[in-house]
Every structure is written in structure tokens, then in C-alpha cells.
Assembly symmetry: none
DNA sequence: CATGAATGAGGGTTCATTCAT
DNA sequence: GATGAATGAACCCTCATTCAT
């Protein structure tokens, strides 16, 4: 038993890597199946279309991401530490993937014209991260409206850092974001 | 030497609009020449390839952008006002183009695999914007090293705002970035 | 020996219906096994290929058809009445199947390229119908050679009616054929 | 001058032959372009789709057919002679094409599921032939209603003959149809 | 400068069939 | 006797690019 249908896994993994590296329409089904070492029809037995495969992959990524953030939020350390940890994790993530940026964002700019179902996944994911930062801000901000303001600011710092680390193939944007985010948090607590 | 070769202009303009609207690989050469009302070979007489056309377009965009930023830096208003103005301009730019995001960034994630010449253009442009924000910060920061810190932070706010306005098809990220950037500036001056 | 292998029956029945409705190459093996509620390999256990399945189905159809015609020939009514009855049955058959025409003929034009075994089935069936009409004509024609002439004519009226009812999605060709066939018969008897 | 764009001609001719021989879905675009000695993209530069190509071909065939029938109708010989000539021409046509039957009908039975535009062409063609036979019958029938009856009968004889010549790979059905059609005409005139 | 026919490589997808279980 | 994952060949179609005119 056990190894039943590992072709599906191989396809999903390979496609995910390629989508992240080259964007949705920078990857062809041919490339996916070749690198996953499968046949074309095997691909279509497991996924109804290239686009559905992409959506499935985004789903998997999103769930893992949400879980990690929920854990961080609930952890016992103080907010400034959480911010630190988040951006440090981001740093590692981006470096491991050679500054390929955010998988969702990368998929996005290419997919505009075509597919709403992919677009929707990306939106949901982004909003979910924005909400995470708002929750985080609630742990130190003096008021609800201030928490929203600061949460959104952290979200933009995160997003800009991710994007520019990719654009510039450098880690400094992430570090700058971490520093700025921490300062924000500390300032607010000292008021 | 008046109307000679206005075909080139039409192609460049049309292609730019389409690249920004639909992304690099969401636009075909056929569509470009049709909307520019030219012939196939005319296209290839002026531009060696679709990619070179894209590079040329990015060059044009970059120069216009740099000039505008230089003007803003040199203007007589106080720094907080400059920040305000920059993000307000960004807001208009993005709304006019239906939240299609940054042309450079959009082109980036698509082009990774293929072409270094496009990548280089994007890097140069991004660094040039980062430097603009550092210059801006120098106008109010207490020290050079602090100016760099704050300049980078403004840069990330700008980048995140642009990206998420596109991802979410909404203007609030830009407004949140402006608010945060202003606060940064004012805080620093009041220290 | 009761319910053993009713899968075979289900496949045969389902395939027959689908072939007639959508044509040989308008039906896929996947569709057949799904609508017959069987597994892939079960299909190929009972039939070596889609084509052999088609041949088997044509066989079944042919036998049923021959039996019905033999009964009609042997019945006690007078020839003109038999002609009437035959075309009335044809009318019902075509209407029930939404003017999908003759299963054999339909299969024919598709199969040309590939397979002699299907072709042979079709020929046999057609000759058998031609012979039926000759037998029918013998019941009223003045001579053997005249019976052949008229039998062939009835056969062509039948064939044309079936074909054009399909081409035009209309029943009038069958009714016109019946009228003409009856007139033929009556004329001959009144000579 | 002169030979400009003969690729289009080659494709149309080749496709027509193949459609007639193997039916619409028995022919692939790959086969067409190979036998026409062109590139795939050349095909699609001239015809928007395989289906549109088929429709175009049917149009060409239809026009040629209509013209020939109009000429025959208007000719000076007597009706029985016209019938004779029509079926003799049909005989030659079918023999030249190795009993491949009616191009329209052949295309039909396969096309059912997919394409209405092809279906419509076939219907129009068939009705146009039916009308031809009605016009022919008007040249000898005693009344309008009788002309319709006999015209329809001739049409069915023609259709059945064409179909069965194909099914049986034999010429006798056409000859039987001619004989029957002539007899019909002569009988009517002698009444 | 302009035309548009021609190209080869590749796009995503579906087919009938086989195999290990 | 049944399962369904895996296959390779073929499906129709589009791309950026070149060439003769």
C-alpha cells in the first residue's frame, strides 16, 4: 500500500516550483510533465486543466501559510519578537527560493487576463495576511482603529520587502522591513 | 523630419499600453501591430523582437519617472507635503490604469527565465526609486544613516502599496502607505 | 447462469444507444464505461477494442432486423399493406431516435479508412434488406425480373428516405417513400 | 502575378478530397497540411478553423452542383432524357471517386454532435437538390401537386442510389435508380 | 516604408488502450 | 471479475518571426 498515486504528488510539487520560478504562463504543461517524469494523459487524469492545477497548488500553499501565522499569533512571546520572527522566517523562505518572491504575487501579474479563479485565490490569500498583521497589531496598539492602521502598514512593509527582494535579488529589503516594523511596534508601546 | 516614421511611435505607445494592461506575455505581436495599424514587417524593421520593444518601452517609462521625481525633490514645499504629493500621484496613476500595478514589476515576474536585459532595466529603475526616497528622507532626517533607514522604509511602503493595489484591485493600500509615510516624516521632525 | 456478467450487456446496450445517437467517433470509451457503470478493464475484458464492440452491436441489430422482416414477409396481409407497414415502422423507429438515420449507414462513412470487418457487416445488412424488398416484390410482380427491378426500387426509396430524414431532421422523406412505394405496388397489380 | 497564395487552394482541394473520403472527423488538420504540403500556421492563416474550412469546401461544392443542375433544367432535351443524363453524370461522379458517396451526406453523419454551421450547409444543399427534382417533374407532371410527389420520389431514388453505391461499393444502385426514374417519367407522360 | 503569406516550435487537451493490483 | 492510474500518439490551435513582393 502507501505509495499509491505518487504521480499526482510529483506533478503538484513540480508545478508549484515552476509556477513560483517562472510564473503561470511561463510554464507549459509539457515542461511540468517532463520534469515530473509523467505522461501527458496522467497529468490530465489528476488535474482537469493547467489552471485547476495552479489553483490547487495555491490552496495548499495558502493553508500552510495560514497555519503558521495562526501559530505565531498565539505564541507566548511579546509582539516585537513576533514581528522579528515573522520577517526572519520570510528572509529564510526567500533565500531558500533564490528571491523568487511571493508565489501568489508572481502568479498574479501574469494571470490577469485569463482566470478569475486564480485571481480570487490570490486576493483571499493577501487579505488573510493583511488580517494577520492587524491581529498582530491588536496585541500592542492602544485602540482598534490604530491597530488597523499599523496592521496595514506592516502588511505593506511585508509586501514591498518581498517584491523588492525579488526585483533586486537581495535580502536587504526584508531586513529593512523587519527593522521598520519593530520600530513601529516599540514606538507604539512606549507612547 | 516631421512625420517621418510615426509608425514607430504608434507601435511603442500601443505596446506600452497593452503590456501594462495585459502583461508581457498576455499581449501578442499580432495584437500590437493591429492596434497600432501597422504591418508585420514594419514592426520588425523598428524593433528586432518583441522583447527589445519591451525594453525600449521600459526605458521610456523610466526616464519620465526619474524626471518627475527629480522635480518633486527640488520643489519648494516641505517634505511631508512632498510625500503626500508622491503618493497622490501614484494613486492617480494606478486608478487611471485600473490597478495594473507597476509596469516594471509586472514585467519582472514574467521575464525571469528569459532575459537579463529586461531584468537589468527593472533593477536600475527600482534602485533609482529607492534613491529618490533616500534623497527625500535626507530633507528631514537628523542623520545620513537615519535618512537611509527611513528612505528604504518609504520605498517599501511604496512598493507594497503598488503591488497590493494591483493584487486586490483596490486603492486603500496606496492611501494607507501615504498615511504611514507622512506619519514617519512628521515623527522624525518632531523628535 | 442468471446474472453472470451483466456488465457485458450493459456495455453493449449503452454503446449501441450512444453510437446511434452520436456516431461512432462521437462516442468515447470513457463515456461508454461511465454510462454503463463499469470499469475500464472490464470493458476490455469483454471487447477487444471499441471497434469490435461496434461490430458486435451491428450484429445484434442486424439479427433483430432480419427477424422482423421475415415475419412481415410471411404475414397474411396483402403486399401493399406490407409496404405500408414497413414504412410506418421505419417512421416510428426514426422518430424514436430523433432522426439519427440508419445505424449501419452512419457507421459506414466513418469507418471507411480503418476497418474491413465493419464494412462487411454493413454490406451484408444492406444486401439482406435489398433481398427483403425483392421478396416482397415477388408477392405482386408479374415476373421474376420485374420483381427484382421493383424490389431494388423499393430498396432505394427506403434508403433515400432514411438518409434524408436524418439529413433534414424531418419525417416527410419517409412518408413520401411510403406513398411512392405503395403506388408502385398498386400500379403493378392493376396492369 | 498569378500563382499568389496557392497554399489556400492546395489546402482546400486536399481537405475536400479527404473529407469526402474519410468524413469530417476522420480527417485531422495534421493530415491535411501534410498532404497539402504546408505548415500548420499557414493553414490557420487562411482558415480560422477546421470547421470553417469544411464549410467553405461545402459551399464551393454546392455552388458547382447548383449551376450544373440549373443548366440541365434549362436544356432543350425532353425530361426523360434529362433524368437519364443526371443519373449518368452521378454514375461517373461516384465511379471517379471510388463510390465514396455524397460529400455532404458523408460529412453529415459524423458531424452531428458538434457543428450546426456544417449541418445547415448540408440541409440547404439537400433541399436545393429536392427542389431541382421538383422543377424537373414540373416539366412533365400533369399538376403542381403531382409534380411535388414525383419530384420527391426522384429525390429519394437519387439519395438512396448514392448512399447504397457507397455502402455496397457498386454501381448498380445508380443504374436501378435511373431506370426507375425514367419509368416514372414516361408513365406519367403516357397517362 | 508597407504588405501578408509562410513558417516551425510549441500551446493545452483528449483519445483508445494497457498494466499492476 | 473488477479497479483506476499510467501511457503515447494524436487532437486543434497560436506564437513570434521571416521572406518575397
Amino acid at each position: 500500500m502507501t505509495k499509491k498515486s505518487n504521480a499526482r504528488e510529483r506533478i503538484l510539487e513540480t508545478a508549484g516550483r515552476l509556477f513560483h520560478e517562472n510564473g503561470y504562463c511561463g510554464v507549459g504543461v509539457n515542461q511540468i510533465i517532463e520534469e515530473a517524469d509523467t505522461a501527458k494523459a496522467t497529468f490530465y487524469q489528476h488535474f482537469p486543466s493547467k489552471m485547476e492545477l495552479c489553483v490547487t497548488w495555491l490552496d495548499v500553499m495558502h493553508e500552510a501559510s495560514e497555519e503558521a501565522r495562526a501559530d505565531l499569533l498565539a505564541s507566548e512571546v511579546d509582539p516585537a519578537e513576533k514581528i522579528d520572527q515573522y520577517f526572519t522566517d520570510l528572509e529564510r523562505f526567500l533565500e531558500e527560493r533564490q528571491f523568487r518572491g511571493c508565489p501568489f504575487t508572481n502568479t498574479s501579474s501574469i494571470t490577469d487576463a485569463c482566470c478569475d479563479s486564480i485571481r480570487k485565490k490570490i486576493e483571499e490569500h493577501k487579505i488573510s495576511i493583511r488580517d494577520f498583521f492587524r491581529d498582530l497589531a491588536r496585541q500592542f496598539a492602544p485602540s482598534e482603529s490604530r491597530a488597523k492602521e499599523i496592521g496595514d502598514e506592516l502588511f505593506l512593509l511585508y509586501s514591498g520587502a518581498t517584491m523588492e527582494a525579488q526585483n533586486l535579488r537581495a535580502i536587504w529589503p526584508v531586513r529593512a522591513a523587519r527593522r521598520a516594523a519593530r520600530e513601529r511596534c516599540v514606538n507604539e508601546q512606549n507612547k
